[in-house]
Symmetry: C2
Subunit: 490 residues, 2 copies
């Protein structure tokens, strides 16, 4: 564990975020620009996220599969908007062999091993998958087709930050094909709601869902819908997206099916995904100045037991503590017994606080004599003395309470930092002083959107269902507009 | 499902293998040379393999983590043998941006976006991991360090075959660091035995374990140990490997620790892995001319129920069959109820046979009247009429029997195709007529090994513990030698 402290949020929010990732041992920078190493503790949280999300994706009827990492350059170019969006930030494989340098001291690219067609490391898999789908789909009986892939993705981002924006990241991408637009739109919304429910029920994150503006949509989609979360500094973080691809890709990859009337038609497609970016949202939402706080439902360690002893009572305290451990694991999983030597209880408390373990049980000689233990909850730091016979029930209840409390904090944050404004002056005041989600009217013209961004750094985050119905004057040009949610995004 | 037949093994073994992969819908070729698409049914088997192996890896004390896909060229070059082994077959990223072509019709590599140092798509992760380990390890208290990674790997193989040898494949790689060579050697053997047990207990595959010869060992290792399986044509397939890396990598990546006496030392390392190649072993070991046979323990569908009806009894048969389905799922997981319309029972039987579902239950009107069902086991095609009340017990027993029978067949194959020879003439006779595992003596000189390979195609597969003690004349040069297992490898 790092002994270094954590920069307080109030002092420098972005350094606080980096400190949490470091001190909680979630990830670290690697020697490869923009790529990170996800450390065991961080990866264990990711595995718990994956497991629960994978279950929900399968419940929706999607099946997992695996497609190539490399995409032929010509595939990426087929959909005009798609290539514009992804050509600028991709890793390109041009050669397939190294050779010894003339001085024999190193290796260099062998110019004779040049690929005829360059390969792009997947920035997303629409093109490589849909080429294959065109061979899988013949008739309406093959539809809907629902495929999901867990994979690594590379986008050559200029500025990177661990979890939030990295050159390589891990994600899940769902790709579905349908007979009608009505059906594919239903899928888009189902995926979106799956992410929203997952955020709320598992990650204890309140989010907002809605349609993205044209400038913010996925390159190649008709429409993109997003799940937006709010961080503690009031900024918004795009947590996941779900795309209505229309027939754009079907047409360029020639996916066709014979419909129920025997006619040849292009199907309607969707894609949707969330990534290790969720880990960034998790850190920024639930942590405090003492470190990370992990929601119990995805905690690799839910409870840690720290025995406190001196040489003369060591054996007794350890025996008593181990008894409680054995009792607790009958009802609670992921309990850790921290009997490491050479480390003081204080050091251990500090370490587990930084790592955000939801519940800590401290057991010293006095607790032992009283037939009790001390239970500390990570979210509120509240301490209670609990009798041994009540430990299991108390811990189970506490884990539920913590999960609920984190969600309720997240809800409060979102609600208390959401504003409605009616003119541009008010908009600028709120955005500059409070950030948050600002409901305001916009005419839909990308020029107004761009100006607002230039002048205030705020972008359209999404338009909710209700927003669409709520019309009024555009805050920028005063032409008729619909209500959108603006914010400063990560 | 493909309606095409399957080439019999006796006619053309290698085409039979490709046919099984196609007809069972495990995988297919992709437009990217040497990369395959793992289809949902194939991937579901892989997920079951992963799940069970991951459990065993964690039980051994390793923790999962994730390291970058890209390796800086200079890292790969640090260990002299390592770079020789992997430089010849790697994918090299040289640029990070595409631009529009002058005619505006396509995209091309932007020459201005050239990387200062090329990045290699990982052919294995020793170098990128150990650079990081050098920062994680300070003292003997940080040891042993046991990290495992599930990842995609790229090796630019010239000749590829689905699952057996593909440019991109999926694998697990374990990497451990220890205080002493004794301890790291113990780890090497533990990993090796974990793979052997997994093969036997889960995949129903009998294997042989032992040390590889110098020419067959991992580039950069002191010694490599392998798990060798025998396919139905008598050829051997390297199923997994475990490497004693000694201090080779520790020295070049400067991993040092303060030992218990306060001295600075280089630690001892191991790495070990198995890949989607296992899927190839599975197909080649258990399938027959009718299709794949999946061992029950990893079967995505363990039992399929196929109702047989005509228009006038459809409702009754479906209701009866669904009742049996509901009864069966109380005790057995992964049961599929195949009530698809438009497909004949015969077509369905054929499809599930090709896909290797261990148990099929057929239910027609006559079975319904008799209060029975017909149960067919995939491995022997044996049919039984079973009363409804006995279905659950019978199916559970049958799944165990099939798992055992597959392993016992695999054992029989390995035993009956293992030979001992004492001279080169006999060796050549056996290898050319029977393939199999041939125990023979070899002096250890790479020149003899190379000559034997040139003249017979046979390579040393491994040396078992007993082989080392069993000395006699080298079959090629007649100098003193130890016993090795030879075979024709995939």
């Amino acid at each position: 564990m790092s002994n270094k402290g954590i920069t307080p949020r109030s002092e420098e929010y972005s350094q606080w975020f980096l400190d949490i990732i470091d001190r909680a041992e979630l990830a670290e920078n690697s020697p490869v620009r923009g790529s990170m190493v996800i450390k065991p503790y961080g990866y264990a949280i990711w595995e718990n996220i994956q497991k629960e999300l994978d279950r929900r994706i399968k419940e929706k009827g999607a099946k997992n599969a695996y497609f190539p990492l490399f995409i032929p350059k010509s595939f990426l170019s087929k959909e005009a908007d798609h290539v514009k969006g992804f050509a600028k930030e991709c890793a390109i494989v041009t050669h397939y062999r190294l050779r010894e340098t003339a001085d024999g001291k190193g290796v260099e690219v062998d110019p004779e091993a040049k690929l005829e067609e360059e390969l792009i490391v997947r920035p997303t898999s629409e093109t490589i998958m849909y080429d294959t789908f065109s061979r899988w789909i013949k008739s309406w009986r093959d539809l809907p087709l629902k495929i999901n892939q867990w994979a690594n993705i590379v986008r050559w981002e200029k500025r990177t930050r661990p979890f939030l924006r990295t050159a390589e990241f891990l994600w899940q991408e769902g790709h579905t094909v349908h007979e009608t637009h009505e059906e594919s739109l239903k899928e888009v919304m189902e995926a979106l709601n799956m992410y929203k429910d997952f955020a709320s029920e598992v990650l204890a994150l309140e989010t907002l869902i809605g349609k993205k503006s044209n400038s913010e949509k996925f390159a190649g989609a008709l429409d993109t819908y997003g799940v937006e979360a709010m961080m503690q500094d009031g900024k918004s973080l795009q947590f996941g997206t779900s795309h209505d691809l229309g027939q754009n890709f079907a047409k360029v990859f020639n996916i066709q099916f014979t419909d129920r009337e025997g006619k040849l038609k292009y199907p309607w497609q969707t894609s949707w995904g969330v990534s290790t970016r969720m880990m960034g949202a998790l850190v920024m939402s639930h942590s405090d100045d003492k470190g990370l706080i992990v929601p119990p439902k995805i905690a690799p360690i839910k409870v840690v037991i720290v025995p406190i002893y001196k040489d003369d009572n060591k054996e007794k305290v350890l025996k008593y503590s181990r008894g409680i451990y054995n009792q607790l694991i009958k009802d609670v999983d992921n309990v850790e017994f921290d009997d490491r030597e050479f480390l003081s209880p204080g050091y251990k408390f500090n370490e587990w606080e930084k790592k955000g373990v939801p519940v800590r049980i401290e057991i010293g000689p006095k607790d032992m004599e009283a037939g009790q233990v001390v239970i500390v909850r990570r979210d509120t730091s509240e301490k209670s003395n609990i009798y041994v016979s009540e430990v299991n029930e108390n811990v189970q209840k506490l884990l539920e309470d913590i999960q609920e409390n984190l969600l309720s904090r997240s809800k409060d944050l979102l609600i208390s930092n959401t504003y409605s404004v009616s003119d541009y002056k008010e908009f600028k005041d709120v955005i500059s002083s409070k950030k948050g989600f600002v409901h305001a009217h916009w005419c839909g013209d990308p020029e107004c959107e761009e100006k607002i961004k230039e002048e205030t750094k705020a972008t359209t985050r999404c338009q909710t269902e209700e927003g669409k119905k709520n019309t009024s004057k555009c805050i920028y040009c005063e032409k008729p507009g619909e209500e959108w949610v603006f914010g400063i995004s990560y």
